[in-house]
Symmetry: C2
Subunit: 460 residues, 2 copies
């Protein structure tokens, strides 16, 4: 499938034949990365049915041993995952419910699994309805039933069920505050799990004693199962105490809604039960299986660059930290290649994956990847044949309609010619406006998958 809609414009923005060639390789790598983590492909790489035997990951089940098969789950990629499971299991599926973001239901065709829409990145009443439906299906499942759970990024918000006493508006306000303060997704989820009836292993508890298989498309750096979609099928190692520590660490405790503080305090004092912990009975029949992650996408990008004739290096899928600082680091790699031929001799390509954060200080519009690109552009100024592309595999970078952006050694001069001051745009967190003007946004539309971000450096 071809994703980058504005490929021709991106190529035409090159100011030299060498840079055009470098842009082409980078765009090819973007396509390869997204295609490699297509949710259908991910599911089908791990699940197959033949002769009545269902194989999932390394496990084998006799299909006839299950009375009923129920499919649940949620996330930005879970609609496609549901299609893939239906294609594999067809009429063996007895029913189910999967929650996808508002406005995306029409993208998928399922016959047996109901699709629900809900809010992302902020949960809404539809998120509560979705989670409620899923919990109900899970609780109805008996000892001889199989529950297949399709988990992907965004699931935390799409499947939400606040604890009694917490109005959804308060939980939303809390989530908003955490998103804005620069907390990591791990920290955000530590809090959310303890305000929830669903997350942190509570879905698994509801499904017990059914067999539960969770197919997980990882959108969290390092694939920690308990963090992805807040780990509804995974024991929760975090505690009420940890949740309080996160709020205090970001100076949010006093600002937090009263209902949130009350529940967290009741949790710390033992009035409310902790989320299910490792070793509990509920997890005896649970199997959590990663079907795709950032490394798969990054390695596909690397393979594509190699196919384009470049020397290649995949550095890490653990990239984190402030986006603009990561941009400087990517530029540092390109500059060394140009100066000394280390770590690779030209022509070459380097791939870095992960998920950065943006501490918003300005008033502009932008995203993590667009900030990475803008920051790196300032540092590769003047280098011919050097291109850096950074993008979100879900096609939606921050609150924008772009997946990311692409820059090269002439980006800053081109922007100056247009009267744009790149440093001011960066300072104002206004990378989207900057790249809109330049025509250097990477536009894919929503891709239906989500394994975080990939950055590609090409030096010819």
């Amino acid at each position: 499938m071809v994703w980058v809609k504005n490929r021709e414009e991106l190529l035409d923005n090159a100011t030299s034949p060498l840079t055009r060639k470098a842009r082409e390789a980078a765009i090819n790598a973007v396509e390869a990365a997204i295609n490699a983590v297509d949710p259908r492909r991910a599911v089908k790489s791990k699940v197959s049915l033949s002769g009545g035997t269902l194989r999932i990951g390394g496990l084998s089940f006799n299909l006839s041993s299950f009375k009923r098969i129920i499919v649940v789950g949620g996330g930005k990629a879970s609609g496609s995952m549901a299609e893939a499971i239906e294609e594999i299991l067809g009429s063996h599926i007895d029913g189910g419910a999967v929650v996808v973001p508002h406005g995306t239901k029409g993208n998928y065709k399922t016959r047996r699994v109901e699709l629900h829409e809900a809010g992302h990145p902020v949960p809404d009443e539809d998120s509560v309805r979705g989670a409620s439906k899923i919990l109900e299906l899970a609780e109805q499942a008996g000892e001889d039933d199989l529950v297949i759970c399709l988990i992907s990024g965004g699931g935390s918000s799409l499947m939400a069920m606040p604890r009694p006493g917490i109005p959804l508006a308060d939980k939303q306000a809390m989530t908003n505050m955490l998103l804005k303060c620069g907390a990591t997704i791990n920290e955000i989820n530590t809090v959310r799990k303890h305000l929830s009836m669903f997350k942190g292993g509570q879905l698994a508890k509801a499904a017990y004693p059914a067999t539960l298989i969770s197919l997980i498309l990882s959108d969290v750096v390092g694939d920690p199962l308990e963090v992805i979609a807040s780990g509804p099928t995974v024991p929760d190692p975090t505690t009420y105490r940890d949740a309080v520590a996160v709020l205090k660490n970001y100076d949010l405790w006093d600002e937090a809604p009263r209902s949130v503080r009350r529940v967290l305090r009741d949790g710390v004092s033992g009035k409310i039960r902790e989320t299910p912990k490792p070793g509990e009975q509920a997890f005896k029949k649970v199997h959590n299986i990663i079907v795709g992650n950032n490394r798969v996408a990054s390695l596909a990008a690397e393979r594509e660059l190699r196919r384009c004739g470049l020397n290649t290096l995949f550095l890490t899928s653990f990239m984190e930290g402030e986006a603009r600082e990561v941009g400087i680091m990517l530029a540092a790699l390109a500059r060394e290649v140009k100066a000394s031929g280390s770590p690779l001799s030209r022509p070459c390509g380097i791939v870095v994956g992960g998920e950065t954060t943006v501490t918003v200080k300005g008033e502009g519009i932008g995203g993590r990847n667009q900030e990475i690109a803008l920051s790196s552009a300032l540092k590769i100024k003047g280098l011919d044949g050097v291109v850096i592309a950074s993008f979100s595999t879900d096609g939606v970078d921050g609150p924008t309609d772009a997946a990311g952006a692409i820059v090269d050694g002439s980006t800053i001069d081109r922007s100056k010619d247009m009267g744009l001051n790149a440093v001011e745009y960066l300072t104002n967190n206004d990378s989207y406006s900057f790249f809109s003007r330049l025509g250097d946004l990477i536009l894919t539309g929503p891709t239906g998958t989500n394994v975080n971000d990939v950055s590609v450096i090409v030096c010819l």
Copy 2:
């Protein structure tokens, strides 16, 4: 030469045999890096005298063609460079003056070149005396004389001569403000050159029509000649207008001393002449030669790791940006090695060079490299056999007596056992206190050289 004084303590702090071995490789790499950029070795690698022919870099001179040879310069490494030049040229040197930091003159023995001491990182009246003496020697040099200028990091501060009308205290205040606000060394020097009678090619102008050879030990990322020690022998591409832009960019214009604003305004309006620009007559007989830089140190560290039996990778000598973010990046590399064997399979070592910055927000004591180490420790928690060492090649990281620090997968647990909260120390920019308590500072004392910082990752 052996530099790390507390090697045994650093090894004994390991909590497993594997980590101890990793620490040993990292410490060996520290030693190798510093030794590789010993200023005497650097000078002697580029300068030789035989049979009356003086060879410097790619140039050859008949020694008898010069009436007099004068040695000038300044910087943290320039004392050793002067010793090396005296060892090569001996009695052919007619005199000279080189400025070194306060308290370091006793470290060097020179016969013909006078050593002066002055202030660093903030210039003082001795910096003015030193610069004045050097300008005097340069101006006295005639068409048939050779001026050898020994430039190294710190030269900007050690050789200072404010423009008339700017009290040194005002220039000091300005420098302090720039150092604190997170400005890059390029930006700081753009301002300093335009407040100076010495920097930005003005020493070369004074030496003209003598032959001028500048031997430069680079302490600036990417070795831009015009930036190192503020480029006293290099045409200045920056303008008064640029200097004003730096102050405005960091919101320092209104805070800047009145004398500084007056001179900059007079410069912009043309009342004061610009620093000498590329193409001017004064540079016809000037040769600027890099004798050592960060890449030389980083590659030596890499070689040493290879000698220890590790797979190795030298990534870049261009690392810049906020120290704590670079720490996250180094950890990301180690985590991928542990998770997937990319970019290298274990046992392996990765070397990254450059110079980061610290935006000071807390009240603690620390340095760039200690912050890198502390930040990375939080991200490699729990990984056995993973060590990250970050250090300044001059042995002085920030305003501390340590070169840097070393961390491993058990650092955070060790600190918890001692009642230390690593996140709080990092937030308070108090990395020195943290590592003092742990005994994990890298203590070398001043090394007499300076090619910025090197970080070493070892994964066994």
